[in-house]
């Protein structure tokens, strides 16, 4: 059976997964459900929906992933289960 520590680690890991996927859902889907409504707004001179599909959502994914990875490493370290040292 998994120990208490491991269970706590997994519940935090799952929590982070859910937040990450919620952000992913927003930038990957929610925005484009309203593509037609937001395209009259503009960003950097581009129509907004055009900008999001050409660049904005892509950049958001990169940022979300680096953020989420950093956060996960903190969770691993907190529970003493990180293997980051193996890189050297």
């Amino acid at each position: 059976m998994a120990s208490k520590n491991h269970e706590a680690h997994w519940s935090k890991t799952s929590g982070l997964m859910k937040i990450t996927l919620a952000l992913w859902f927003f930038f990957g889907y929610v925005i484009f459900m309203f593509g037609n409504d937001i395209n009259s707004m503009s960003f950097l001179g581009y129509p907004l929906a055009y900008y999001m599909t050409a660049q904005g959502s892509l950049a958001a994914f990169v940022i979300i992933l680096f953020w989420s990875t950093g956060k996960q490493q903190k969770i691993d370290e907190e529970h003493g289960v990180s293997d980051a040292g193996r890189d050297d």
């Binding site: 890991t13 997964m17 992913w24 484009f32 459900m33 950097l44 990875t69 890189d87």
Partner: protein, 610 residues
């Protein structure tokens, strides 16, 4: 110069390599000034880069199973990111994507969002856990987690089907580029391409593919970004195009209104066979199509591409090569960053290409000019001669209208440097980049297929007593057979590049996504459930593809789910079957459950001990 461990010297090695490549480009520019022909420069570019990859492949030869299958699990985070990016970005991404955006506008760009967002699923749901598991191949995980050869074999079938659909398109692309650059017939060029691909992978397996893919990424990203920046500066659109093309996008919308977006009738097109396989602009560049159905078409494509990304074995197996679980996770983020560099440039290239051709105020503009003038332009003549470009004067006014200019999608990337008046050396560079993109993806795919066959089918199912030398021998023979078979199919030119690329994603998501994800996230998932899911999902998806596929039964799609999106039928069937059957069967034994607990924790030994 190089002391200590090989992996510590990587930044230096690839730094020298990049410098050397730039010097080579300069040398070619000098040769061009000296009057060397464009053709010779094209040949030199492709031949030189391919020889370098083959040399790296030779240096990485190995006789160890762990080096052959997972590059010895010592690939550092950032370099694995670059290798994955090259593995990922195919000939289609490089050659066809900007063209797709050029003709398809906003709706086509669903591919950009789908092919990047999928990495969030890879990182959050799969890669770190599969790395901790310590498998050599993706079916290896399915086979061990669920137990039994049937589950393993089903995973191999999905893998082979998805990867093989994908690889023929890549060999096709290497053939197209090699035939253009070297001036040989396509049917021969396909095998020249295949020989180059095999040279990179045969001797060193995953280790060789990793180090050539890093080298290929460097070439392809330089070849993509340099023309984008150069053209943007040349036509005065801004020195950093990604943030400064707002005015050009607006101007294109104005020009669209001025020239009018006209759809040619089927009869008109049929009367002009020279337009077959070519496209013309009939869709707005930046406007969003109106209505719920249009939004659903966009979103459904994004779903398929994202979920497909997270199920493609040749991508997942790249994360088996990192030294740790943390490194695997971080490496996904770097992969996405390196992919992002190319993908956020593609719409800019499409915009620059479009404005160059459409704006009558620019010297390169052709729309709205007299047809006889346009026909005497050098690049138009060249591309018309090879049937990549066509002009039809539908209204007979002697002026070129938007709907009278036809072009093959790939021309946007391959010809824009020429159109904008850049020196030929850039076109040679672009050819080398396209070759790098197609080769690196083909290598990853062929290796994924032959590794699954040699490790999962031969070693795990047929002959578990085989020694390492024999296993690696079988692996190499299978590699060559798979490659030749792929080249043979490609030489028959069965499908266009993008149709089949999207199919690979749909096959993979239909059969593999839920068995993989639930294998990590749901302890209750059983062997019977997984087998039912894989078989049922794949069968349902394939049946639906045959039902709607334009070249098969061509029936009307349900809810706009056409042949590019058939994974939307396969994956839910897979999920439902897997959950229902799992709940009907006994829960997995304690050993399996402990194994699942184990992969959820980064530290400690891998589950398989490999």
């Amino acid at each position: 110069m190089f002391k200590g461990k090989f992996t510590d010297n990587l930044p230096k090695i690839y730094g020298v390599y990049t410098g050397g490549f730039l010097v080579f480009c300069l040398l070619m520019a000098i040769l061009e000034n000296q009057g060397v022909t464009a053709k010779t420069i094209g040949v030199l570019f492709v031949a030189f880069t391919v020889l370098i990859y083959a040399f790296i492949g030779y240096l990485s030869r190995t006789m160890q199973a762990s080096a052959y299958y997972v590059a010895g699990r010592e690939v550092p985070t950032v370099f694995n990111g670059m290798a994955t990016a090259a593995d990922w970005m195919s000939g289609a991404s490089f050659v066809a994507m900007a063209g797709g955006i050029y003709f398809g506008g906003y709706t086509y760009m669903a591919f950009l969002v789908g092919w990047t967002g999928g990495y969030i699923l890879v990182s959050s749901l799969l890669a770190p856990y599969l790395r901790k598991f310590g498998c050599y191949t993706v079916p290896d995980f399915i086979g061990t987690r669920y137990g039994g050869n049937v589950a393993r074999f089903c995973a191999v079938i999905v893998l082979v089907l998805a990867s093989f659909t994908y690889v023929t398109a890549q060999i096709n692309a290497t053939g197209t580029i090699a035939s253009r650059a070297l001036g040989i017939p396509f049917e021969t060029a396909v095998y020249v391409g295949l020989a180059s691909i095999l040279m990179c992978s045969m001797l060193g397996g995953m280790r060789a593919v990793t180090w050539t893919q890093v080298a290929q990424y460097i070439v392809l990203i330089i070849a993509y970004l340099l023309p984008v920046f150069w053209i943007s500066n040349k036509i005065g659109a801004g020195f950093f195009p990604h943030f400064m093309l707002g005015d050009e996008v607006k101007r294109i919308a104005e020009l669209e209104a001025q020239f009018g977006l006209v759809t040619n009738s089927k009869a008109a097109l049929a009367a002009h066979p020279e337009t077959k396989g070519l496209a013309y602009i009939k869709t707005a560049h930046s406007a969003v199509p109106v209505g719920a159905m249009a939004a659903w078409k966009y979103i459904s494509l994004v779903i398929c591409m994202m979920v497909g990304t997270a199920s493609l074995p040749h991508i997942l197996m790249r994360y088996f090569t990192t030294p740790s679980v943390t490194a695997a996770r971080r490496s996904v983020a770097w992969s996405l960053f390196f992919i992002f560099l190319l993908y956020f440039s593609a719409p800019m290239l499409a915009t620059l290409s479009k404005i160059s051709l459409m704006d009558p105020n620019l010297p390169t503009g052709i729309i709205g000019k007299s047809i006889s003038d346009v026909q005497s332009i050098e690049w138009v003549k060249n591309w018309m001669a090879v049937k990549q470009v066509a002009i039809v004067d539908f209204n007979g006014d002697g002026i070129l209208q938007l709907n009278e200019w036809f072009m093959r999608g790939g021309v946007v990337v391959l010809a824009t440097p020429e159109v904008a008046g850049l020196p030929y050396v850039i076109s040679g560079l672009v050819a080398a980049g396209g070759m790098a993109a197609a080769m690196s993806t083909a290598d990853g795919l062929i290796l994924a297929i032959s590794n699954a066959l040699s490790h999962d089918v031969y070693y795990k199912i047929i002959n578990p007593k085989a020694d390492t030398a024999k296993r690696l021998m079988v692996a190499r023979v299978l590699l060559v057979i798979v490659g030749i078979f792929g080249a043979y199919i490609a030489s028959m030119r069965l499908t266009g590049i993008l149709g089949s690329v999207a199919w690979a994603f749909d096959f993979a998501m239909s059969g593999l996504f839920f068995p993989l994800v639930l294998g990590v996230w749901w302890k209750r998932a059983t062997r019977q459930g997984a087998v039912a899911g894989m078989i049922g999902g794949l069968a349902a998806g394939t049946a639906y593809l045959i039902y709607v596929g334009p070249k098969f039964m061509a029936m009307t799609p349900w809810l706009g789910i056409d042949h590019l999106r058939f994974g939307l039928i396969g994956a839910p069937v897979c999920l439902i079957l897997m959950v229902v059957v799992s709940l009907m069967t006994d829960e997995p034994d304690a050993k399996t459950q402990a194994m699942v607990d184990e992969i959820r924790i980064p530290s400690g030994r891998t589950v398989t001990g490999n």
